[in-house]
Symmetry: C2
Subunit: 427 residues, 2 copies
């Protein structure tokens, strides 16, 4: 084989020396503010503000469910999930041998089974179950799909590989017919096994980026996100391949827009204000949400959100915070309930004297969405959000984060963000 | 400041030793095929097959333009572009002082000015120019926009930073009104200065990923794409920050779909078959196209394309190969004319016995697009493409790359691609 080994095109240059960039001059004020927030968050008396999760299931929290009535999935190891699949198969065989046909008990993910648990401050599933019976004509097909998905999951877990939902669909198009069928059953199988959907090694796609003060191992490769150039590192769809997370960051900056991420990455904002910068480029995918949740859990540092000042920006922020109802069985791994809204808030438009020409008129669609959001319990319950959203609705003006460019292209990293952080101006 | 310096949360683990993964057993056959192709490509007698560029301007090539009648931009250094902007300003001042108002001569990017140069095998712009006169009422606004954009470009070049098109728009919303106005003028300014649009330091956004056997410096950070875990490295929007590219890859695998990239990255396909794997996740952005063009130019290795077998996949491949008409003044930096179509080709459906249920019926829209493409000179000129597309239109079947999952999730990396490469089955 030696004759066929490719020869290097050119000698690799020696790795450049690590840059030593000092913190910003006002970093001590910023760090004091951020550390105060962190200390406050660590106290049992800390109030996060009204929960967004509570609102999702309709305002007032239900009476807390007894622990044995809560259906909540756990992170499980690959062999444990495999064993679960084998148990399902054995159980099917037993039922068939006993002449009972076969039936799956599937945890119900219906709205009526979603409860807000105040102590956990999350939506949890109750233990209602529905049955899926192969000998029932109306359920036979779905039962077959469920069984086939279990078999496929068992195969990929055995190989230790990950696949996409689309790959899964394509292994048996004839049976699944439509991808939504196999996608839906995936969530069923996860709740049945009591594991997260990611534990099934089936992923959607990745679109998140990370740059800044965090290091980790990814599938054994050592990744240092302070040395990822100006483009940063792609957040992998397989979060379980990330281990050994270390960081000297004091906060996480969660950015809605790609363009803002690019600005902060090029300016290497994280050198001057020790942070980790993350974006999912708009609507967040599961991998980015999980990555954020893990960083928050492992590092215990505050998360600051930077979103457009419009109803859509608010919606995206709410997905990071409360997640989607459909994935409520795994809310623990997907949501970061305590994100501080740093900017751009509707009140910023006047406070930062945003020029008239950078304020955009809200469209009819925007106004409609804004009005609907004002009715939503999850906004209603949060006085500061109501205040901000009311300002937006009264002025009928919205603004993108990039509108700050009117003060200079680097204004956001040299003035806006440092001032916000120094003043602790988050809600 | 020492009191405020963040303290590491945890000791960084020692970097793991470099994995030594041997090449695949059949790698010698594959490398022989690929090297033969590379050697053939290096010969002056090498025929790339009918040019797609020729077709873009309508079939037969024009008589070659004399060199002094070709308007082609060059990669220019930051100070050189700054100097150009200063010259424009001086020229304006001179005209105004002389009482002539002021006028810009702008290279025409109209279709009538696009010529196919056979020796270059690219579309080039002729030296037709239009004038933009500030004292002409109908041209005053556009002239003002042009001047303002020049001023802003001069500013960002002076700071040595990059901005997005959206940022540029937001610096003067009142003047630009619509982003398409400032975007369009950017191309004008680039052609006027004779530099690429990227030289203006204005970028769109990044969405490309790269993994595999390539190393480079990105803004001084040493990046090794064989050690980027399973997610890979984000291709930065600022390609000029990439320097010192080295590689021991023998070919580049250009992948349409994110999901296929993820499969190959997790399988670390590049260890067994020495290659670089790139995706732009669908329709390619400028940064990914530039990155591919640079890799091809600097490394001189063949590019293999892996696309869906449908009219849309063909369209995406054509963007990598021929680019967009609008950017024809910079076709040299954006197009990779010689991409080999590896798969999935319509003829693969039968040759690889793709199960019936994985073949999708073409929609009316697909059939219409396919019919239109068969009329396009750029397809017509290429007999092998006509053959493939005719097969598609006759069977009225399409297939996504993921359809290969029906043979097993890793079939693409263990069987399909190795066989294709061993047999030199590309067109």
């Amino acid at each position: 084989m030696s004759g066929t080994a490719p020869s290097p095109k050119r000698q690799k240059t020696a790795p450049p020396k690590k840059k030593q960039v000092p913190l910003a001059k006002d970093a001590d004020i910023v760090l004091k503010k951020v550390r105060e927030l962190k200390a406050a968050m660590a106290k049992p008396s800390y109030k996060k503000g009204p929960s967004v999760a509570a609102a999702l299931v309709g305002g007032a929290p239900d009476a807390p469910l007894p622990k044995d009535q809560v259906m909540e999935v756990k992170n499980m190891s690959n062999p444990d999930v495999q064993e679960k699949m084998e148990k399902f198969a054995l159980d099917i065989a037993k039922q068939v041998i006993e002449g009972r046909g076969f039936t799956f008990a599937v945890p119900s993910r219906a709205a009526s089974n979603q409860h807000y648990d105040k102590s956990l401050d999350r939506i949890v599933l109750g233990n209602n179950q529905s049955s899926r019976n192969f000998v029932n004509v109306s359920q036979a097909r779905k039962t077959a799909i469920t069984t086939r998905v279990m078999q496929l999951i068992h195969t990929i877990l055995g190989k230790g590989i990950h696949i996409t939902k689309r790959d899964l669909f394509y292994t048996d198009v004839k049976l699944f017919v439509d991808q939504s069928e196999s996608d839906g059953v995936l969530d069923d199988v996860a709740t049945m096994a009591g594991c997260t959907r990611s534990n099934l090694n089936v992923v959607a796609s990745d679109k998140g980026l990370v740059v800044g003060r965090v290091q980790f191992l990814e599938d054994g490769d050592s990744i240092d996100c302070t040395r990822m150039g100006v483009g940063g590192k792609a957040i992998p769809p397989y979060i379980d391949k990330i281990t050994d997370i270390t960081s000297d960051a004091e906060f996480i900056l969660l950015v809605e827009k790609d363009a803002v991420y690019m600005r902060l990455a090029e300016d290497r904002f994280y050198h001057r204000y020790p942070c980790i910068i993350i974006t999912a480029k708009g609507q967040p995918d599961v991998a980015t949400r999980m990555f954020l949740t893990r960083l928050k859990a492992e590092l215990g540092i505050p998360v600051m959100g930077l979103f457009d000042s419009d109803p859509y920006g608010l919606k995206i922020m709410s997905v990071y915070m409360q997640g989607s109802k459909n994935m409520s069985y795994d809310s623990a791994n997907l949501t970061t309930s305590d994100i501080k809204w740093l900017g751009i808030r509707p009140s910023d438009l006047d406070r930062y004297d945003l020029p008239e020409q950078c304020r955009l008129d809200m469209t009819k669609e925007d106004i409609k969405t804004g009005e609907l959001m004002l009715q939503e319990p999850f906004v209603k319950n949060n006085p500061l959000w109501v205040e901000e959203l009311t300002t937006m609705m009264e002025t009928k003006q919205k603004a993108e984060i990039q509108a700050l460019s009117s003060f200079g292209f680097q204004y956001i990293s040299t003035d806006y963000l440092p001032r916000k952080l120094r003043e602790g101006d988050w809600v």
